[in-house]
């Protein structure tokens, strides 16, 4: 269940650049990255991991109903997210925390969702076009495809100007690839030649079911059957994730039709805080993937380039502060107003909802009156 000969990789698990004919075309893309940008890759991966650790702790302490870790998938997410342009739209699944951070999301909004204060949490328009999480597996891939169809109808892709041409990226997991919606999304994307990148994070496990139960063929090969060009990358290599996503996003925004990337990664943590992975996977397996960790690998690469101890020490402090800030603001979160149950069920007035809202208000007011009477 690890990498194959087809898996594209720029950075070895030891953090050394790997040269190969297969990846030669990606090298110029990462050569354009500045030192500042490379540092930012590391910084966001570290912040995301701190957020994950804090999220897990907060859930264990009863501050959240559920926690959904992205632990181990930071490389796939950070590389692909930095490959986007500001005008691009993102339709995530529910553990793309790093992508949200890069697009400007205040991750407290993710906490609000998992604490039970909202079913959404943010607006894409105000958060770098990062759409809200979708809990039903694969549903968002159809929304992404429809949105991308709209871009085509608007003539906002394929004009030849990458500064303004738009693209869509949708994230989903190996379990989702068994859903009808993901397959229908690829069919529609191919039919309408949408400006869209399907970004599959194959983290090897759909809760307790291994990817071998989802597919007898490498998942990236399925895309070919839909007529969608696809590749498989080492998802724990942030550089290939960036370069491959950049290349495919630029091709699709230029009017080349949809693209598909399978990023091989690993869910180092549990599926959610309700899960117990020790019941279905071996210590040996998790130990193996620990050696492929995206963050330590990239740190080794940066150190090899001469990055200072101080840089890493500063990031460590910033990440700790980031986690602490989340903790402080989480425990300060209040309860949403009761009216939220009724408001926004519809965009236009609806008599049944209005009536029930009024009934509840009267019902509660009656208790207040009886308290006064006593």
């Amino acid at each position: 269940m690890s990498y194959t000969e087809a898996t594209l990789q720029l950075l070895s698990p030891a953090g050394a650049l790997v040269e190969s004919d297969a990846t030669a075309e990606y090298v110029p893309i990462i050569e354009k990255l500045t030192d500042t940008e490379l540092r930012e890759f590391h910084r966001v991966m570290a912040l995301t991991r701190a957020f994950d650790m804090e999220g897990t702790n907060l859930q264990r302490q009863g501050q959240m109903g559920l926690w959904v870790p992205s632990l181990g998938q930071e490389g796939a997410q950070v590389g692909s997210a930095f490959a986007m342009r500001p005008q691009d739209h993102i339709f995530p699944s529910y553990r793309e925390h790093a992508v949200g951070i890069i697009r400007g999301l205040d991750v407290l909004d993710i906490v609000r969702l998992l604490r039970g204060l909202t079913h959404g949490g943010w607006t894409a328009a105000e958060n770098g076009n990062f759409h809200i999480y979708t809990m039903v597996l694969g549903s968002q891939t159809l929304h992404a495809t429809g949105y991308a169809m709209g871009i085509t109808l608007d003539g906002k892709a394929g004009t030849g100007n990458p500064e303004t041409d738009e693209a869509v990226i949708t994230y989903f997991g190996d379990g989702s690839t068994s859903q009808g919606d993901v397959n229908e999304a690829m069919i529609f994307a191919a039919s309408y030649q949408t400006p869209e990148l399907f970004f599959l994070q194959n983290n090897q496990w759909a809760i307790s079911v291994p990817v071998s139960k989802q597919s007898r063929t490498p998942l990236y090969l399925r895309a070919g059957g839909f007529g969608i060009p696809s590749i498989q990358i080492d998802g724990n290599d942030v550089l290939i994730s960036y370069a491959a996503s950049r290349k495919y996003l630029e091709e699709t925004r230029a009017g080349g039709g949809p693209r598909f990337i399978e990023a091989l990664t690993y869910r180092m943590g549990a599926h959610t805080s309700s899960d117990d992975p020790t019941k279905y996977r071996s210590d040996e397996e998790t130990a193996h993937w620990a050696t492929l960790d995206p963050i330590s690998r990239f740190e080794a690469y940066l150190r090899g380039r001469g990055e200072s101890d101080k840089f890493f020490a500063d990031i460590k402090v910033e990440a700790a502060d980031f986690g602490e800030d989340i903790r402080r603001r989480t425990v300060e979160l209040g309860t949403p107003p009761v009216g939220n149950i009724f408001d926004n069920v519809y965009s236009e007035p609806h008599p049944l909802i209005d009536e029930q809202k009024q009934w509840l208000a009267n019902y509660e007011a009656a208790f207040a009156e009886s308290e006064v009477a006593e």
Binding site: T145, I187, N344, E348, L352
Partner: protein, 327 residues
Amino acid sequence: MSELESLPMAKALNAGLRQAMLSDPKVILMGEDIGPLGGVFRVTEGLQVEFGENRVMDTPLAESGIVGTAIGLAMRGYRPVCEIQFDGFVYPAFDQITSQLAKLTNRHEGDISMPVVIRIPYGGHIGAVEHHQESPEAYFAHTPGLRVVSPSTPHDAYWMIQDAISSDDPVIFLEPKSRYWPKGEVDTSDRGRLLHATAVAREGTEVTLLGHGAMVSVLLQAADIAAEEGTSVEVLDLRSLSPIDYGPILESVRKTGRLVIAQEAPGSVSVGSEIAATVAERAFYSLEAPVLRVSGFDTPFPPAKLETIYLPDADRVLEAVDRALAY
């Protein structure tokens, strides 16, 4: 000034869709076989020629895909109108309709709206094979976030489809397919009633009959027969199944004291059940008899040669009228 035209409902819907597309360039049609063929019921005939393939899209044969991509298009600012080919083919899209379309405005705390219309030809009377004659309205009327309407006349079809498209909420638009062909007068200058209003289709004093879609013509037929027998029957056309406009229903029941609800759908946990319960709650002292329901049986829709037994007809409605009058 009224502009009257005699049209069958299929053509009235076609004209209504055309008007909506002319008045708003964001209105697009999506569905299976709706392009060159004009849909299996020809409701979209000629529209692709007039508006082009970008606005009248023949889609792959995947209902969840149609509704799911319509949601994405709505997020982009479009107002998609999806055609589901037949009632029994809507279920592959059920998740996208109930878990996504219906809830996205709420999930976004009002930041986005979902102006998507899903047209579904529904109901029996056409002698078709399985999955082609069902009445699935209760599923959708039960789902918060959706609006559900069903016209019974060409005039209402012409206006209600336009009003459904103008709505910022998702609308399930149930087209009584057995009424696609009979002609009726359409006043293209005056909509008459609002989208969600219950209508009085015929005034009467002794018993109220209530139904929607194709059932309304059955009720009017029953009212004619009852009149010959000396019973004055009022007929209400529900038109909107969610929300339900209870004002005219309660007003009628307070006048007649008797209510018979007729529907093609299975009666258990149906729209008729809901109305019966609400009328009992709100007009209890006006009722001279229990609210009665005449429905399809709680079985799968039968093979076509048995459909006339399954579907409520004027005789079954009148049997219920007699029972109501016997109290």
